[in-house]
């Protein structure tokens, strides 16, 4: 991805990473990650398990502090920000966690309304109505609102987590392995919801996944992470003829090829 591409039009890219590095102890996980996500674009980072996809997304979200390099959101450098400016940036984010990460002490509707209640100070009654609206967007009826997250199936939990991620109508939504652990039909339902909702909200999306069916459905642009670096980046239409042996091995799921599987987790 070239620098010139990053400054298309007047607006800076929604997310811009340059030379982001992160090590845990002696183990280097990210060795200079570069990518841009333009406003309204859906970018998917692919890569095998243990290549640092989750670490990348957590660095952008600010859940993990990166060691070096620059991460800019809307052109603002996030690593040298005051706590208050950082909070303003955080309000632009919505995140769908791999395991859902629903708060099991709260009923479903309060999970969905959490951001509205606590960060936006929306009154409870209004927040509840908005939560029900968002649950309807992900295809769940109001009767689900009263249930506890532990009473839901995996697919339903994912839908609720999706409703929670979009409840505050964020500008940037992160999806961490949105289809992992779901059957192919439910995975497709979730993929469709992701496409539909990000379009409806006009949001920018950054996802990580190793599910190629999901990639083909939700991505405008794909970047492949390997050995702590982005080794290929391009529009989804070009992925089948990119000519990169690493990407080809990955998208066809071959055991033989240049990629050796990581045994230790990062």
């Amino acid at each position: 991805m070239s620098e010139t591409n990053a400054s298309v039009g007047n607006k800076p890219p929604k997310i811009s990473c340059r030379g982001v590095t992160k090590s845990f102890g002696a183990k280097s996980v990210l060795a200079g990650v570069d990518f841009d996500v333009q406003a309204g674009e859906s970018m998917v980072i692919i890569g095998g398990s243990g290549t640092g996809k989750s670490v990348t997304i957590k660095c952008v979200l600010g859940l993990i502090r990166h060691d070096a390099g620059s991460i800019k959101i809307d052109g603002q450098e996030v690593s040298r920000m005051s706590a208050r400016a950082r909070e303003a940036i955080d309000r632009k984010f919505g995140m769908l966690f791999q395991g859902g990460a629903l708060f099991d002490s709260l009923p479903v509707w309060e999970n969905v309304a959490f951001g509205l209640l606590h960060a936006r100070n929306v009154p409870r009654r209004k927040a509840r109505d908005l939560a029900m609206e968002k649950l309807a967007m992900v295809g769940l009826g109001p009767e689900v609102g009263k249930l506890s997250p532990s009473e839901l199936s995996g697919g339903m939990q994912k839908r609720v987590a999706l409703a929670r991620a979009i409840a505050t109508e964020p500008e940037i939504i992160f999806f961490d392995e949105p289809t992992t652990g779901l059957d192919p039909i439910m995975a497709d339902v979730i993929n469709n919801l992701i496409v539909e909702i990000t379009r409806k909200l006009g949001a920018t999306a950054l996802s990580i996944t190793h599910d190629m069916a999901s990639v083909r459905k939700i991505a405008d642009k794909v970047s492949m992470l390997y050995d702590g670096k982005i080794i290929w980046s391009g529009p989804i239409a070009e992925i089948d003829r990119c000519g990169n042996p690493y990407v080809e091995q990955f998208i066809h799921g071959r055991a033989a090829g240049p990629i050796q599987m990581q045994v230790r987790r990062l």
Partner: protein, 263 residues
């Protein structure tokens, strides 16, 4: 060969020292951040109330039971000792003093460390390993404000109330045994207790209780918040929270006693 093994020993000592210093530093930073969030808005009164019910109300049976049996056994044992000097009349004083100054706060502290410290570490630890704490951050909510400050404040506020209850029930335990088993005069026993007890006896116990409450909640939150891995990590965090909470209760019991004693 000997030199090498000695160097290994030095390295081992060095590593342990660094680990201890590192842990102390992390705990200090955690404590300061937690306290600063206790003092700054936004506050979550609903969560504080929930925690006060969880820590205070639901600990009442345990603390009450410990209190009454401690008081009862104290009356019996001091009778055994004091009857040898014909000093049985000192039993009400001994019971009241031991319960309010020592046994009330310490036993309640140890019970709460087991009950509440473990629950906090397990709950926050599970939230950590299931990414719920990360989820809080992405929903623009500081976990220190939402999870830790209400627990610390609730423990700080409710422990003195719990200990006050334990004091009353403990003295009642002593009274029951003395009056019904050792044939004390009921009115004389109560008058003796009341005349002898000084405000400072009760106050020092309540100060201890507040400190113990804070320390127990701090250990529960700290170990839960920093738990790693899965079920095993949460288990380890729970054990550490209870053990360190109980030890801190005993250590600070001495420190606070000495501080009050020198006055």
């Amino acid at each position: 060969m000997i030199l090498a093994s000695r160097l290994n020993l030095l390295a081992l000592i060095g590593r342990s020292l660094l680990a201890v210093l590192g842990a102390t530093g992390r705990l200090a930073v955690f404590t300061l951040e937690a306290i600063s969030h206790c003092l700054r808005p936004p506050f979550f009164p609903r969560l504080l109330l929930n925690q006060m019910i969880e820590i205070g109300y639901y600990s009442l049976p345990v603390v009450g039971l410990t209190g009454i049996f401690a008081g009862m056994v104290l009356a019996l044992q001091s009778y055994t000792g004091f009857s040898r000097f014909a000093a049985e009349s000192a039993i009400p004083n001994v019971v009241a003093l031991s319960i309010t100054r020592e046994l009330g706060p310490v036993l309640a502290g140890l019970m709460v460390a087991g009950r509440v410290g473990a629950a906090m570490a397990a709950e926050i630890g599970t939230m950590r390993v299931t990414e719920q704490i990360d989820a809080l951050r992405t929903l623009s909510t500081n976990p220190f404000k939402y999870l830790i400050a209400p627990r610390l404040l609730a423990a700080l506020i409710t422990m003195p109330i719990l200990v006050l209850v334990a004091d009353i029930i403990g003295i009642m335990g002593g009274y029951i045994v003395s009056v019904h088993k050792l044939d004390f005069n009921a009115a004389a026993y109560l008058k003796n207790t009341w005349d002898f007890l000084e405000p400072m006896d009760v106050i020092s116990g309540l100060v201890k209780a507040a400190v113990f409450g804070f320390l127990i909640a701090l250990m529960g939150c700290y170990h839960g918040f920093n738990s790693k891995g899965g079920a095993q990590g949460v288990g380890a965090a729970t054990t550490n929270a209870v053990v360190s909470g109980a030890i801190l209760v005993l250590v600070f019991n001495y420190i606070i006693t000495e501080a009050f004693f020198s006055r």
